[in-house]
């Protein structure tokens, strides 16, 4: 093995800007053949200078009459497209791309993708099934919705209610996601979380999709199987979920049409109920959390960030994109999964990977660190895990069992 040579960047190919700082993304781009520039807040500047990383400073929280500036700067540099790395940069990418590509619709599209309520309406208009949902501006709205949902389900007073889900309009993944079962729990929601999106609970199998889209067509579609939402995911999915692939593909095609997505990358979530009906949950126009990109690289060997660049770059050719992606499922070298660890005890003093986990044939690695505080904050919402544990192996069912099993183990004692 020799040191990687500096990549020769091909001026014939596109010039991309990534919005937001992700070292994994930057590292992957730095050894890809496209010219690139990182657009990130000024705290990234020193690091970029030190490592010769092309960089433009921009504060995404600032929204004022200078906002056009960044689009113009990038345009002057010759940048072809902007790629959002985080939820918070999705509308920035839409705004910038509408300038770079001279297509004002891209901004509207981005706004749709940023607001969970608008997103659901749009999906509904596109003929996609969604659950019951509504916006809430205060706690009364939540109580009303909870009651109404349970009346619809013909519950009597005293029957255990079906839960409802509350999500922030514009946050990624599980952030701000709460489950409410009783009116009492409504009081625990802090004021600053409103307004929120409320959804009825769907009993079903939740999964996510990662789809790379180019020229309006799906180029690679991965199905990520959740073992337990917020805890664990693996790719590729079990054959039982993969057998829905044709239906899922049709759903994604509907989604692409409804949102008029021509290029880039989407990450929607669905439920499939016991009768095989598919319900749309939400969709994001940026890389997924939970290190799914890393899992894909482990399973298939391609770098998902480089794939992202290909799907966004208007100068990418059909041949190039065909050659880049492996065939779904059949080309996977195994199943890669990860488990998010939450401490199970209220007081913990040390990190102690269970031997059963560490010795398992599928165990690969973990990124847990020793606890900084002894008392574990009570989880209110789904919250953030303390780190991930990675697994890799041949048998998807063994993987699913293994990930499920981790929920019963203590990683912090």
């Amino acid at each position: 093995m020799s040191k990687p040579e500096p990549v020769r960047r091909n001026p014939e190919k596109g010039y991309v800007a990534v919005l937001g700082w992700s070292l994994n993304a930057v590292e992957a781009l730095d050894r890809f053949d496209r010219r690139y520039v990182v657009v990130a807040p000024d705290w990234a500047e020193e690091y970029c200078e030190e490592h010769d990383i092309p960089y433009v400073s921009w504060n995404f929280e600032r929204l004022n009459d200078r906002s056009l500036e960044i689009a113009e700067t990038l345009q002057k540099m010759g940048v072809d497209v902007a790629i959002p790395l985080y939820e918070e940069t999705v509308e920035w990418a839409g705004a910038i791309n509408s300038v770079l590509m001279g297509n004002p619709r891209l901004l509207g599209q981005a706004m749709l993708l940023r607001d969970k309520a608008l997103m659901k309406r749009r999906a509904q208009l596109g003929g996609i099934r969604v659950g019951i949902f509504e916006e809430a501006h205060d706690r009364d709205d939540v109580i009303r919705f909870l009651k109404r949902v349970n009346q619809t389900l013909l519950k009597l007073d005293g029957d255990p209610s079906d839960p409802i889900h509350l999500k922030a309009f514009d946050k990624a993944g599980c952030l701000g996601h709460r489950v409410i079962r009783t009116p009492d729990e409504v009081d625990t929601i802090p004021d600053e979380e409103f307004p929120v999106l409320m959804e009825s609970h769907l009993d079903g199998w939740e999964f996510a999709v990662e789809a790379w889209v180019f020229n309006g067509k799906i180029r690679f579609l991965n199905i990520s199987e959740y073992v337990t939402l917020g805890y664990s995911v693996f790719v590729p999915a079990t054959p039982e979920l993969e057998k829905f692939r044709p239906q899922i593909t049709r759903q994604i095609e509907k989604l692409i049409k409804a949102f008029e997505i021509d290029f880039g990358f989407i990450h929607p979530e669905y439920f499939v109920t016991s009768d095989g009906e598919m319900y749309f949950g939400e969709v994001a126009y940026r890389p997924p959390g939970f290190k799914v990109f890393e899992l894909l690289e482990r399973a298939y060997g391609f770098n998902a960030y480089q794939a992202l660049v290909l799907a966004f770059d208007p100068k990418t050719t059909e041949e190039e994109i065909d050659a880049f992606f492996p065939r779904e499922v059949v080309d996977a070298r195994g199943h890669a999964g990860c488990f998010g660890v939450y401490p199970r005890r209220r007081v913990v003093s040390e990190l102690s990977i269970p031997e059963e986990t560490e010795d398992h044939d599928y165990f690969e690695s973990h990124e847990l660190s020793a606890p900084l505080e002894e008392t574990v904050t009570k989880r209110t919402a789904f919250g953030t895990h303390w780190g991930l544990v990675y697994f890799f192996g041949d048998d998807p069912h063994a993987m699913r069992g293994l990930l499920k099993r981790q929920e019963d183990l203590d990683f912090y004692v």
Binding site: D30, H51, E355
Partner: protein, 682 residues
């Protein structure tokens, strides 16, 4: 030529696992190799984890050694001191290997393997020559000798967990590949020090001696005057006497024996006996000789075991039993049983009425399928599990203080086994029958029965594999019962050992109990009273010159060589007596495998040269008292509390303050966090 007994090597059964893990390692290496310098650290976690998983597999060290160049080029050492091997300092490697941080240990280990690859010429490094690398590793070996042949100590196990074993395996690999000439003298000295404690398990020492023997037989090696005393070690295993001088293999040796007259046999017998009692090691040829002599004369048999007059009487009195024991238990693979048998006979315990019949029962005992499986897993199929267990019985009865807890947190159970073998061999044999035949022990705790089957868990979370045959199958049961007794004390005020120890070990473990740590707060309490009572109960000058009658369980606060608290540990107080220098010492049994430990602040446990019997550790009375935190005593025997001199008590308290008591002083003095003193010692 037959098949020489030396060397024996491992079987390649874990190949499939290793292959899989190597694939993961290569993938992780590749991922790091293609990453940019600024992104290397993103790939480090997976690479380190996959390295660790490879290194714990048999053959893992060689595999990583072969990949050393790839790993370095991929950037494993990027941004660390290890990136410039030409400036690394051998003296600092020990700190890396003994780090609490598993990643530091791994990096250090891989760096050593890289040096090894350079030294052997597999890896032509631009900045380090093969000679320099060789020199470097020799120094690393010399300065970390203990890693070569002692299992992890209490301190290391607490601090490093499973990494402690990994560094030992690493050193074995390094030693075998670098050679021992530079470290031979110290190595031999250490081997003798370990052997003087007469452990039951000598596999690790045997392995080292074997490696030294192989190393010495290499004509390219120039040893000079190094390795005085190594001959005796090698010859005690592989060429003890005239007829096996050149390690001819057991079959050839047997045919030579058949051609010998009584005189020559006498020579063989005496030669083996001398070597065995000298080193504590038994040659496989010795076992063969014993089996051969069964059909010859009892006189020669006694000679071959080097028996004392007691032992000889015992053998003649229990002639049939001894013959059957040899037939069943003594094989070239279980040669150490010869030493066990010889000492068992010398101890005269066969004269205790139940012991001989209990051994007959043991000989005929059908083992449960589970016990057979455990024994086979640990020792293989030859000889049969039953013979293996019987050989273990001979060893434990001959060397009660040679029991070690291995790399397991089960010091309580090891101590109980040792205590029974020492004090109540009949009971030990009974417990063993229950386990080996029925897979269950039932003990009673304050009138309630406790089954080792019902109890869910013990102190240890995994089954041991690194123990002598008796401990191997008995310890998991004892451990569960011990833990269950502790659970039944939950909610009581004070330390559970007060009630558990007498019920667990036996009636002789006295009901009087003192502890100098407050369980709630972890602070020291009643220190002076604690010490005065200890003197009055145990010190001959204050207890009416009464020697200790029964071994008594005790608890010590183990400290490391810097006198820092490590953990609670179970020991047995065996006797208190004056040593040849007239210093009153406490002689005790430590279930740790090597009792010779440095507890800091000048408190160094001695294992030989101060009147110790084989297997005993000892400290001057004061120093011992300074690490003690629990003892039992008979409240009806009052000693002279008042006569214990104040300055002696003050000196001991000084020792305590300078070590484990530093942050446990009662409120008002220094403040500190309470230690988890409710946890049972391990």
């Amino acid at each position: 030529m037959g098949n020489p007994v030396n060397p024996r090597e491992n079987d390649p059964s874990d190949d499939a696992t290793l292959t899989k893990r190597l694939a993961a390692l290569d993938d992780a290496t590749h991922a790091m190799a293609e990453a940019r310098d600024f992104g290397k650290h993103l790939r480090l976690r997976r690479l380190l984890d996959s390295l660790r998983r490879v290194l714990v597999q048999p053959g893992g060290f060689a595999a990583v050694q072969a990949r050393a160049a790839d790993l370095e080029e991929a950037g494993l050492f990027h941004g660390t001191d290890w990136a410039t091997p030409e400036v690394l300092v051998p003296a600092l490697c020990g700190a890396g290997l003994q780090s609490e941080n598993a990643d530091t240990v791994l990096m250090e280990a891989v760096s050593e393997l890289r040096m090894l690859a350079i030294a052997t010429g597999e890896y032509a490094h631009p900045n380090v020559s093969a000679e320099d690398a060789h020199q470097f590793l020799s120094q690393v070996l010399a300065t970390n000798m203990a890693l070569l042949f002692t299992p992890p100590s209490e301190a290391e196990r607490v601090k490093q967990g499973r990494m402690a074993q990994l560094t030992r395996d690493l050193f074995r690999h390094l030693g075998e590949n670098v050679g021992f000439e530079s470290v031979l003298d110290r190595l031999v000295e250490e081997i003798w020090r370990i052997l003087r404690q007469r452990p039951i398990q000598v596999e690790q020492v045997q392995h080292l001696i074997t490696q030294i023997a192989i190393f010495r037989s290499d004509p390219d090696v120039e040893l000079g005057s190094a390795g005085q005393g190594v001959d005796r070690l090698i010859s005690s295993l592989y060429g003890t006497t005239e007829a096996c001088r050149e390690d001819p293999g057991v079959d050839v040796y047997r045919s030579r024996l058949e051609a010998m007259d009584a005189n020559a046999l006498q020579y063989e017998a005496a030669g083996f006996a001398r070597a065995m009692h000298d080193t504590g090691l038994v040659s496989p040829y010795h076992a063969e000789l014993l089996r051969f002599l069964l059909d010859q004369s009892d006189y020669l048999l006694a000679e071959a075991m080097g028996l004392s007059s007691t032992g000889r009487d015992c053998m003649l009195r229990f002639h049939d039993l001894v013959h059957r024991l040899i037939e069943e238990a003594v094989h070239p693979q279980t040669a150490q049983a010869v030493y066990g048998l010889a000492l068992l006979l010398d101890r005269g315990i066969l004269y205790q009425p139940p012991v001989a019949p209990a051994l007959w029962r043991q000989i005929a005992l059908p083992l449960s399928p589970y016990a057979q499986e455990r024994l086979t897993l640990a020792y293989g199929t030859t000889p049969s599990p039953r013979a293996r267990l019987l050989s273990g019985v001979l060893s434990i009865l001959g060397l009660p203080l040679g029991v070690g807890q291995g790399d397991n947190p089960t010091c309580q159970s090891a101590r109980a086994l040792s205590m029974w073998a020492y004090n109540d061999p009949d009971y030990l044999l009974q417990v063993l029958v229950w386990v080996a035949r029925d897979d269950e022990i039932i003990m009673h705790f304050e009138g309630q029965s406790i089954s080792s089957r019902d109890s869910i868990s013990g102190v240890a979370t995994t089954l041991p594999t690194d123990l002598d045959p008796v401990s191997l199958i008995v310890v998991p049961h004892l451990d569960r019962i011990y833990a269950e007794m502790g659970r039944r004390c939950v909610g009581r005020a004070g330390d559970p050992h007060r009630w558990v120890n007498p019920e667990f070990h036996g009636w002789w473990s006295a009901r009087g109990f003192r502890i100098n740590v407050d369980v709630e707060t972890g602070k020291l309490v009643d220190l002076e009273e604690f010490l005065r009572h200890f003197y009055a109960a145990y010190h001959p000058r204050y207890n009416g010159d009464q020697p200790l009658i029964h071994p008594q369980p005790g608890g010590v606060a183990v400290t490391d060589s810097a006198a820092r608290y490590v953990g609670w540990h179970a020991i047995t107080i065996l006797r208190v007596a004056r040593d040849p220098q007239d210093v009153t010492r406490v002689y005790f049994y430590n279930p740790n495998n090597d009792s010779g430990q440095d507890w800091g602040d000048g408190v160094v446990v001695s294992t030989a040269g101060n009147g110790e019997r084989f297997g005993e550790g000892s400290l001057p009375f004061e120093q011992f008292a300074s690490r003690l935190y629990i003892y039992h005593f008979d409240p009806l025997e009052r000693g002279d509390l008042e006569r214990v001199p104040d300055d002696e008590i003050d000196r001991i308290i000084g020792y305590i303050r300078r070590s484990w008591g530093a942050d446990r002083l009662p409120a008002g003095e220094l403040q500190a966090s309470p230690e988890p003193s409710t946890r049972p010692p391990d």
